[in-house]
C-alpha cells in the first residue's frame, strides 16, 4: 500500500484495516502522534488528511487513499509553524502528551477559519482532551497563531 506522509512517499505492507495511527507509530516510527483512547474520544491521535483534521486511531489505513497525511513531525521541520510558535510563546504545554493532537486540530481549524472566535475554537477542539488542564492557554494560543498567520 502506498502512503504519502509529510510529503514523503512510503510503501507499507500492512492489513488495510490497521488504523493509520499504528501505521504511523509502529511501522513508520513517527511517534509524535499519540495513542490516547483508540476510539476517537480524546483527540491525541489527530493528524491531517489533505489539511483536514482526522482521528487517525479510527481511520483504517486503506481509507487514506491518495490523500496527503501530515503529522506533527511534518507540520514544520523546526517548530516554526505559527501554531507551534504561538504554543511556545504562551507556554501552553504541561505534560505535553495531548499537545501534538491539539496543535494539529488547531492548525486545521486555522486553515479553514483564519480568524476563529472562542466558539469556533471550542467547537473544533472540544474533542481534544487535556488532563493537565492547559485549555485556557490552548484557546489563547489559537488566537495568537491566527495573528501570527496574518499576511
Amino acid at each position: 500500500m502506498k502512503l504519502t506522509v509529510n510529503a514523503k512517499a512510503y510503501e507499507v505492507d500492512v492489513p488495510g484495516s490497521m488504523p493509520l495511527l499504528w501505521v504511523l507509530r509502529d511501522v513508520l516510527g513517527l511517534t509524535g502522534t499519540k495513542f490516547g483512547c483508540g476510539v476517537a474520544q480524546c483527540g491525541a491521535c489527530t493528524v491531517h488528511l489533505d489539511g483536514q483534521a482526522v482521528r487517525s486511531c479510527i481511520t483504517p489505513v486503506r481509507a487514506v487513499g491518495t490523500r496527503a497525511v501530515t503529522t506533527i513531525e511534518g507540520l514544520s521541520a523546526d517548530g516554526s509553524h505559527p501554531v507551534q510558535r504561538a504554543w511556545t510563546e504562551l507556554d501552553v504545554v504541561q505534560c505535553g502528551f495531548c499537545q501534538p493532537g491539539q496543535i494539529m486540530a488547531a492548525a486545521a481549524l486555522l486553515g479553514q477559519k483564519p480568524r476563529p472566535t472562542d466558539a469556533d475554537i471550542d467547537a473544533a477542539l472540544d474533542g481534544n482532551l487535556c488532563r493537565c488542564g492547559t485549555y485556557q492557554r490552548v484557546r489563547a494560543a489559537v488566537h495568537r497563531a491566527a495573528q501570527l498567520m496574518e499576511p
Binding site: 509524535g32 495513542f35 483512547c37 513531525e73 499537545q99 471550542d122 488532563r131 493537565c132
Partner: protein, 720 residues
C-alpha cells in the same frame, strides 16, 4: 529501530561514568537528610561528591542538568534547572535537562527512595540543586584563579564565564582543570537579594520538543527486536485465570506469543494492532475465577459506608469531648458528604518497555517511583536491583498513578518479557487503564457540628469512611494506630477544628478488592470539599457572609487569611454579578501551601457552568511564578473534572466506565477563565502541583448553593 538518541546518551553516560566523558563533570551528593533539607542553607556538603550526579559541563560550555525527579507536566524540568543555574551562573540558553537514571544519588532528600510526588520536588531540592550549582561555580572559579595566578576572590561569574579584570574564560575551557580540583570544604549560597533567576517568570525548557512531537514518552520507546503486548486482565478485582485457549489468538497475523502472567494473559505481537486483534480473539477463551470481587457494587458500598459512619471509628484527631459538647450545643447540623472512586486518567495510558537478559534488565517507562520500580523489576526478573536500569521517559501525566508501591505496570511488563523471551512494550488501552484499579477511594464523611449562640462552631465531629492507600503496602509503616493520615489530612489539621475546644475526627478503614492509590492532592480531594462545604453551611445557618464567616474563624491563621483576602479582592467578592450568576469560596492548606478560590457559576438546565475562577496561592518562596500560574490553571481543571464530571461505578464487580464518553473529564468548552495570583513571600517553599486542586469542588458547590439554594453534598455535583 534503535533506541532514541536520548536513551543512548543516557546509557553511554551511565556506562562511561566520570572518567570518559569530556569536560568538567561536577557531581555532588548530599546524603538523605530528612528535615534539614527544608532548613535554610549555608552549610557545606557533608560528603564528598558523588561524581556526575547533577550536572555536566561540555567543552562548548553547555550545561546538562540531571533531574532527580520526573517531569510529568508540573514544570520541574525548568524549576529545578533554575535553582542550579542560579548558583552556577551559566548561560541559560545553553541549559539542557535530562532525567537522571535510577540511583541512590538521586534519592529524595526527605526519604530513601527516588520518587516524584506529594508536591515535594521544589522544596526538597531547593537546597540540593542550588548547592550543586554553587559547588561547580566554586571549582570553576578556583580553576580560573589558579590559571591566572590571581586570588579566587578577584574572580566572578558572568553568564557562563569566569571573569577577572580583563581576563575571561568560558566554563567549557575551564572544565577540565576544575574537575581535577578537590571539592571545597564549604560553599556559600547567594543571598536571596542577589538572585537573578529564582522568582523570575521563566518559560518551560521542554516546550519546544513537546510542540514538535519530539519529546519521548514511555509510549514512544522503540528498542531493537521489540514486540508489543497487550494483556487481558481479570474482568473484576482479584479475579484469577483458571484456563485459556490461545489457538484463535495465535492465528492472528503478527501475533508471536500468548503467555500467562500473574495479572492475566498477554498477547505479544509485532505491533499494537496485531496484539489488540489477538487479544480480541483470546478474550472469550479465558476462563476466570472471579472471587469476591465479582460481587462489588457501588450502590451497595454507598449504603454500607453510610451505615458504617453511624458507628464510632478509630480516633484520628480529638480535643475535649465532642459528643458531650454536641449534645449541649444550642443548634446542631448533621450532613453526609460522599464521592466516588476516581481514575487518574492521564492522557498517556500506562505502558512499560522491558529488555531482559540473563543478568540485566532495562526498563523504559514514565514513572514517579524509580526505586520502587527498580526493586519490583528485579524481583520479577530474579535479579538484584543494581542489575536493573530504569530509563525515565517523559510522563504523559502522572497524577499519582505512576507512583505505585505495587509497581503494577512495571512488574507485569517484566513478567511478559520473561515469559515471551522478547524485548517487549506492554501498552495498556484506555479501557485497561481506566479499569485497572488504583483509584482515589470512594468516600463518605458524616459531619456533625454544634453551633453556639454567636453562630460559630463549638463542637465538631467528623466520621470518615475511606479505604486506606497505605495498608498492605511497604508504606504501611507510616500508619500510626491504624490511621492512614492520607484519609484524614485536611480534616484533622483543619484550622477550623483547631479553634474548637471539643472536636473529634474518626476514621473507618473498610477493606475491598478494589485497589486504591493517591490521586493528585490525595486526601485533600475529599477533605477540602467536605470542610469547605460544611463551613459554608455553617455560615448560612449563622446568616453570615461566607467570606466574613471564614475571616472570623481564621483570625489566627495569617496565611489562610492572606490568600482568602487576595482572592476575594481580585474576584470582586460582594460586587454585583449579572443575573443568573453567583460566587462561591473555598480556602485550603495542602502540601505546605495555601490556596483560596472564588468560583463564579451559572446553571443552564441541569448543567453547572463555571465561568471564572480567581485563585490566590501562598507557596512561600516562589521559584518560577510562570510555572505556579500554570499549575493553578491545571489544578483548577483537574479539580473541576472531579467536581463536575468524573465517577467510576461498579456493578457485579465490573467497572462500568471504559473511556472518555463514559468517564467524563473537563473539556475545552467547560474551562473557565482562571486568574492566578501569588502572595509575595520569603518563606520556605511549599508545594505547587497539587494545592490548586482541592478548592475547586467546594468553591463550585458553594457557588451553586448561593445561586440555587441547593446544597450538593455528593461528587460529582449534579443538579438532576
Amino acid at each position: 529501530m534503535s533506541p532514541s538518541p536520548r536513551d543512548l546518551g543516557r546509557r553511554d553516560f551511565l556506562a562511561a561514568g566520570a572518567a570518559a566523558a569530556a569536560g568538567l563533570i561536577v557531581g555532588f551528593h548530599v546524603p538523605a537528610v530528612g528535615a534539614s533539607a527544608r532548613q535554610d542553607p549555608g552549610g557545606a556538603p557533608s560528603a564528598l561528591p558523588d561524581p556526575n550526579a547533577f550536572l555536566r559541563i561540555a567543552p562548548d560550555g553547555s550545561v546538562t542538568i540531571l533531574l532527580a525527579h520526573s517531569e510529568m507536566g508540573q514544570g520541574i524540568w525548568t524549576g529545578l534547572a533554575m535553582l542550579l543555574a542560579e548558583e552556577l551562573g551559566c548561560d541559560w540558553s545553553t541549559v539542557r535537562v535530562e532525567h537522571a537514571p535510577a540511583a541512590p544519588a538521586y534519592f529524595h532528600t526527605a526519604m530513601p527512595l527516588q520518587m516524584t510526588g506529594g508536591s515535594t520536588s521544589t522544596w526538597s531540592e531547593f537546597d540540593r540543586y542550588r548547592q550543586a550549582g554553587a559547588l561547580a561555580r566554586d571549582l570553576l572559579i578556583r580553576a580560573a584563579a589558579a590559571e591566572w595566578g590571581v586570588p579566587p576572590s578577584q574572580c566572578r561569574v558572568e553568564n557562563g564565564a569566569i571573569v577577572a579584570g580583563d581576563r575571561r574564560a568560558g566554563f567549557g575551557a575551564l572544565a577540565e582543570k576544575a574537575r581535577a580540583l578537590p571539592a571545597p570544604a564549604a560553599i556559600q549560597l547567594k543571598d536571596r537579594s542577589a538572585w537573578t533567576r529564582i522568582g523570575k517568570p521563566t518559560k518551560r525548557l521542554d516546550s519546544s520538543e513537546k510542540v514538535m512531537g519530539r519529546a519521548l514518552f514511555g509510549q514512544d520507546v522503540r528498542v531493537d527486536g521489540m514486540k508489543v503486548a497487550v494483556v487481558e486482565r481479570a474482568p473484576v478485582f482479584g479475579g484469577k485465570v483458571v484456563s485459556f485457549d490461545d489457538a484463535a489468538a495465535r492465528k492472528v497475523p503478527g501475533v508471536r506469543a500468548v503467555v500467562q502472567v500473574p495479572s492475566g494473559v498477554a498477547v505479544v505481537a509485532d505491533d499494537f494492532y496485531a496484539a489488540r486483534e489477538g487479544r480480541r480473539a483470546l478474550a472469550p477463551a479465558i476462563k476466570w475465577d472471579l472471587g469476591a470481587g465479582g460481587a462489588l457494587d457501588t450502590e451497595a458500598l454507598r449504603a454500607q459506608y453510610r451505615e458504617t459512619a453511624q458507628r464510632p471509628g478509630a480516633k484520628a484527631g480529638a480535643k475535649g469531648d465532642a459528643t458531650a459538647a454536641l449534645a449541649k450545643a444550642p443548634r446542631r447540623l448533621v450532613a453526609e458528604y460522599e464521592g466516588p472512586f476516581l481514575a487518574h486518567a492521564a492522557m498517556e495510558p500506562l505502558n512499560c518497555t522491558v529488555r531482559l537478559t540473563a543478568n540485566a534488565c532495562e526498563v523504559w517507562t514514565g514513572t514517579q517511583f524509580q526505586t520502587v520500580d527498580q526493586a519490583a523489576a528485579a524481583q520479577a526478573a530474579g535479579l538484584k536491583p543494581e542489575q536493573v536500569t530504569v530509563h525515565t521517559m517523559f510522563l504523559g501525566g502522572g497524577f499519582g498513578r505512576r507512583a505505585n508501591p505495587a509497581a503494577d505496570f512495571v512488574t507485569e511488563a517484566v513478567h511478559v518479557a520473561k515469559a515471551s523471551s522478547f524485548p517487549v512494550k506492554v501498552i495498556w488501552t484506555r479501557e485497561d487503564d481506566m479499569r485497572g484499579g488504583y483509584y482515589r477511594p470512594q468516600f463518605l464523611h458524616r459531619v456533625q457540628v454544634g453551633l453556639g449562640d454567636d453562630g460559630l462552631p463549638v463542637a465538631w465531629q467528623s466520621t470518615v469512611v475511606c479505604q486506606s492507600l497505605l495498608k498492605g503496602t511497604p508504606f504501611a509503616a507510616e500508619m500510626k494506630d491504624g490511621i492512614d493520615s492520607s484519609s484524614v489530612e485536611g480534616a484533622v489539621d483543619s484550622p477550623y477544628l483547631a479553634r474548637i475546644d471539643n472536636h473529634l475526627v474518626e476514621l473507618h478503614t473498610p477493606e475491598s478488592p478494589v485497589t486504591v492509590l493517591w490521586l493528585r492532592s490525595v486526601g485533600h480531594t475529599h477533605t477540602a470539599f467536605v470542610m469547605e462545604s460544611m463551613i459554608d453551611e455553617l455560615a448560612h445557618a449563622a446568616k453570615a457572609d461566607p467570606l466574613e464567616y471564614r475571616r472570623r474563624l481564621l483570625a489566627k491563621h495569617p496565611r489562610h487569611l492572606g490568600v482568602l483576602n487576595l482572592a476575594a479582592e481580585k474576584a470582586g467578592w460582594g460586587a454585583p454579578l449579572p443575573a443568573g450568576r453567583a460566587r462561591g469560596l473555598a480556602v485550603h492548606e495542602s502540601f505546605g501551601s495555601f490556596v483560596a478560590t472564588v468560583a463564579e457559576v451559572s446553571v443552564e438546565g441541569a448543567r453547572i457552568r463555571v465561568h471564572r475562577m480567581v485563585m490566590a496561592i501562598d507557596c512561600g518562596t516562589c521559584v518560577n511564578p510562570a510555572g505556579v500560574e500554570a499549575q493553578m490553571e491545571g489544578g483548577a481543571a483537574y479539580g473541576l473534572s472531579a467536581a463536575l464530571h468524573s465517577e467510576l461505578t461498579l456493578k457485579e464487580g465490573r467497572v462500568q466506565q471504559g473511556t472518555f464518553n463514559e468517564y467524563g473529564i473537563l473539556r475545552l468548552s467547560g474551562m473557565p477563565r482562571v486568574e492566578a495570583f501569588i502572595v509575595p513571600s520569603t518563606g520556605k517553599p511549599g508545594g505547587v502541583g497539587e494545592p490548586g486542586v482541592p478548592t475547586a469542588a467546594p468553591a463550585v458547590a458553594n457557588a451553586v448553593f448561593a445561586l440555587t439554594g441547593r446544597r450538593l453534598r455528593r461528587l460529582p455535583l449534579k443538579l438532576a
